[in-house]
């Protein structure tokens, strides 16, 4: 079975500062990796995903993530955050060979301070 850990439940950061949201996963088989963002009272929106190829993937809103197979990590980064980035961020994995049910991490609440 797969599992996802997001060690930081809350991350406060000042506007225009860089941010990294950490995601580690556990799986005995190959997985696809995803980051989703949820703004208050809204559904989740796909930020980016890693399927194969380059380990650095770029997504919407200036976010990027790097897949590290040896460390089983998929950390999300942004070089300069805005107030509008305040939201909940979820990391998720699904098996490459059976991609029906995703496993989500517990989420990280990013608060961007003025």
């Amino acid at each position: 079975a797969q599992s996802v850990t997001q060690l930081d439940s809350q991350v406060p950061v000042f506007e225009e500062a860089p941010v990294e949201l950490r995601c580690n996963y556990s799986s005995s088989v190959s997985v696809y990796l995803f980051w989703y963002v949820q703004y208050p009272n809204q559904g989740l929106q796909l930020l980016l995903k890693y399927l194969s190829g380059s380990t650095l993937v770029k997504g919407i809103n200036g976010f990027e993530a790097e897949f590290n197979k040896s460390q089983t990590s998929f950390h999300l980064r942004k070089p300069s955050v805005h107030i509008s980035d305040t939201a909940e961020y979820f990391c998720a994995v699904t098996r490459v060979d059976y991609g029906q049910n995703f496993v989500f991490g517990p989420g990280t609440r990013l608060s961007v301070l003025p």
Binding site: Y32, Y36, G43, K49, F90, G99, N101, F104
Partner: protein, 113 residues
């Protein structure tokens, strides 16, 4: 293009009343469909998923049930709501190929009073 509709957006129901939340997907066929719940300040809890008409898998024993009467329709129901059923309910779909990812609906905020 594919779209997912979920309604209502908000709902306030008394304890003991029935519940019906509906989710429909457009622009695709035979989607995998999911119901998730978020309690206040908590992560996503998978409630039900369906890989086809009439096929429902339950992840958590509870006061809720789900049905899939049509290929692109997924309904979450309860005969008698409990206070603990309050939360934010999300419907999602995927093509069944893992690389596609989930697409989520806009959610329903349910408050049981």
């Amino acid at each position: 293009s594919q779209t997912i509709h979920q309604w209502p957006a908000t709902l306030v129901q008394p304890v003991g009343s029935p519940l019906s939340l509906e989710c429909t997907v457009e622009g695709t066929s035979n989607p995998n469909l999911y119901w998730y719940r978020q309690a206040a300040g908590r992560g996503l809890q998978l409630l039900f998923y369906s890989v086809g008409i009439g096929q429902i898998s339950s992840e958590v024993p509870q006061n809720l049930s789900a049905s899939r009467p049509q290929d692109r329709q997924f309904i979450l129901s309860s005969k008698k709501l409990l206070l603990s059923d309050s939360g934010f309910y999300l419907c999602a779909w995927t093509s069944g190929q893992g690389g596609y990812g989930y697409t989520f609906g806009s959610g329903t905020r349910l408050t049981v009073v």
